[in-house]
């Protein structure tokens, strides 16, 4: 997993993506721009964060889950 470490914590790039979602719903393009990461990394990372229960997908956009929001407090 590129965004989640084996101990379940987000990696540096995972953390950047979660922080980029702090303001609410965001598209992969918006997250990539805020996080300063390549779009392909963000698309794959958001999938991982969603599978891990740290983000939620709503249509083409993503938002923090309760769990994800707690992690970046």
């Amino acid at each position: 997993m590129a965004c989640i470490s084996p101990d379940g914590k987000p990696t540096e790039s995972g953390s950047k993506m979660l922080h980029a979602l702090k303001g609410g719903l965001g598209s992969p393009e918006e997250v990539a721009s805020k996080a300063g990461l390549p779009l392909f990394r963000v698309r794959s990372g958001l999938r991982e964060l969603t599978e891990a229960g740290l983000a939620k997908q709503k249509g083409d956009k993503y938002e923090l889950s309760e769990e994800g929001a707690k992690l970046i407090k």
């Binding site: 590129a2 390549p38 779009l39 392909f40 698309r43 794959s44 991982e48």
Partner: protein
Amino acid sequence: MEEVKEQASHMPRIGEPAPAFEAVTTHGKLKLEDFKGSWLILFSHPADFTPVCTTEFIAFTEIHPELQKRGVELLGLSVDSVSSHIAWVRNVEEKTKVKIPFPIIADLNKEVSLDYGMIHPGQSKTETVRCVFIIDPNQIIRTILYYPLTTGRNMDEILRIIDALQTTDNNAVATPANWRPGDKVVVPSPNTQEMAEERLKQGYECVDWYLCKKKI
């Protein structure tokens, strides 16, 4: 059985959609569709920790900033494990101070290699030859290059092809032999006699009606 599959595998062709994949890489699990909207150079190398491949990875890293300026992502591949890729990338950085910035697919089950026709049994039944697939933002294969195991790729040519493809797409023209950015481009051939006659009056530099060039 494996050999039969390798030989029977469909070879992708220019103009066709690039075969979809989901693969383990040094940057996590990636799908082809993750690159939608960007140009992508998918390239294979025979094996990690080998001399020619190491020079190529350094050379790909050197042109990476130029590729980024052109909206192009790089994705490597070989039939090695992700641990081997990570160890090799770290070794290259330790020995040469060059940090490989792009992901590399660990294609241990040869799924992607076979879909892309990267294994040429006449060269090696277990290693991928040096393939380059240039895939456009709509995920259509636009260029395929194959190099043998013993010949390292020419980065200058890869950049030139990207420039030529993007120029072609943006201006509806073609590029002549040995074209470089800034050189005159070829105006598409006319389809009718009327267009051929008009062509000669349009101020292009023409050898004849079928070969006209212009500046862009």
